[in-house]
């Protein structure tokens, strides 16, 4: 009795499954087309970058030959090299300092009791609602008064106050068992030792995620470096790229610059894609 009753069910489910599989091919084709469309601007950029300079190419047509001359020219130009170094300094120093200060603050907010803890934490959170652009002018005036315009500290330090990072670290450390910290203290470990030998190693996965995001945020950042980096000494790559105008420069050289500038992002992307994809869903970092 039960057997006969369940049979149509099994068949229906089976039909649904094969139906789904058959319907899958047009959907897969659509997905393939959309994916190719999405990467096509990059492909076009690379093709133009590899086209011989100085010869007017018809847009949308394949060049007769490919050359690395433009890329070589970009790599050997001092302006470009300088911007790249500045971007690296801006991004890497920010990663190190934010990871350090945010994990320390996150640890204290999660596991320490001290006066004003809740008020402080909520103030940190509330600043997330204030868009940076709304405070751009007073921040600039402040840094200007402190003599920070066109200096590295003026570029980097104001971007280190990152509430997202503190929040993420606190949430992660909240999930670590208290016994770990108590046991270390009973064994006589100093506070700094507890931080360095327990908090840091145990938060390594979330530190790595945060590090990747902080790197991308800073490497791709534009408005703050634009107003602070007023000469080539502190100008970052994104700002430098906008000073290159097609009128003064061949399109192929501009696209070669753009191509070279995106390499670090691509390295991060290809090495950590799966990781990045999972952590966005998990943490909501943007």
């Amino acid at each position: 009795m039960t057997l006969t009753a369940s049979r149509p069910l099994v068949r229906a489910a089976g039909a649904a499954r094969t139906g789904r599989r058959r319907a899958g091919w047009p959907l897969a084709a659509l997905l393939a087309v959309l994916s190719l469309l999405t990467v096509s601007p990059f492909v076009a950029m690379v093709v133009v970058a590899l086209s011989p300079a100085g010869r007017p190419t018809v847009p949308g047509s394949w060049p007769e030959s490919l050359t690395f001359d433009n890329v070589a020219r970009v790599l050997s130009s001092s302006g470009f090299a300088g911007w790249t170094v500045n971007s690296l300094v801006y991004s890497l120093v920010s990663v190190v300092v934010i990871l350090l200060t945010a994990s320390m603050a996150g640890y204290a907010f999660a596991k320490k009791r001290f006066p004003g803890r809740e008020a402080m934490f909520w103030t940190f959170l509330a600043t997330m609602m204030v868009p940076f652009q709304a405070t751009l002018i007073p921040t600039f005036v402040l840094v200007n008064d402190l003599g920070g315009v066109d200096t590295f500290w003026g570029l980097i330090v104001p971007t280190l106050a990152n509430s997202q990072a503190v929040f993420l670290m606190r949430q992660f450390i909240l999930g670590l068992p208290d016994e770990l910290f108590d046991a270390a203290k009973v064994d006589g470990a100093s506070e700094l030792r507890v931080y360095w030998t327990i908090v840091v190693p145990l938060t390594r996965p979330i530190l790595a995620t945060l590090g990747v995001f902080v790197f991308l945020w800073h490497w791709n950042d534009f408005l703050w470096p634009l107003v602070i980096g007023q000469s080539d000494t502190t100008r970052t790559l994104t700002v430098g790229l906008t000073t290159l105008r097609t009128e003064e420069m061949q399109l192929s050289v501009l696209m070669a610059s753009a191509t070279v500038s995106v390499v670090p992002c691509l390295v991060v992307f290809f090495l950590l894609q799966r990781y990045l994809v999972n952590s966005i869903a998990m943490t909501g970092l943007k």
């Binding site: 990467v39 320490k112 009791r113 609602m129 868009p131």
Partner: protein, 288 residues
Amino acid sequence: MRQRLRDPVTGLLFVLPMLVLFLIFRIFPTLGAAGMSLTNWNIGGEWSFVGADNYARLLDDVNFWTSLRVTLVYAAVYVPLTVVVALGTALLLNQVVFLRGLFRGMLFLPYVTSFVLAGIIWRWIYEYSGLINGLLAKADLGPVPFLEQSALVLPALAVVSVWKGFGYSMLILLAGLKSIPGSYLEAATVDGASSWQRFRRITLPLLKPTLFFVLVIETISAFQTFDTIYVMTGGGPARATYTLIYGIYDHGFRSFDFGYAATWGMVLFAIVLVVSLVQRRFLDRGNT
């Protein structure tokens, strides 16, 4: 016992570096923005208190109203477009097994690059002598003045931002789709529900909180668009892309009229705050 007593100090010491950074570079400028909007602060650092003059000037400023309209129209084009593209690609990725990882990576790729790069590539794509018009010319069509015509330029810019950013919302929505129990959909299939009915009656209602989150995030980022405008149009043609943020930049760093620029910043702050509060309201209602 001694450990407990020492805790307040160590806790504070651990927070201290970040706290100092916050007080100086987040809290102080936030309060400063409000204060500055009540002054005529200029490049020389001289200022006097002018009360609500800047706000009165704002209400009389034709450019401000244009800019508010431009910002809202841009958001009205960008937000639905990006949510639809993100939802569509997320649904496809959830359905298709074939080369899923590769396709997901390709769709997500623009997200890791910068808006400046997106602006540089797409400026060339849209130009008279650019890619699209080159292709159109081969078919004896065009040219289309994407960046030169007021009616076309905002949608054209919105497309660039959608291209650059939809990967993020796509991943968030994909995670939301994956959390819908497969048994619900199977049960509906067994009951003879069509794929549209399954989407409309099961997937969409269960995806609502995620969709709402994406909607808010994308609305806020629509109001913060600056880089592509700076690179591609410079606020033009005829102020057709002169958004609020562009106004802040323009008054602050072209006219060095800091007090008035801060006033524009306060408007941006108010808008983002309202969006955030609406989000909180809805999320709270969803929880009860």
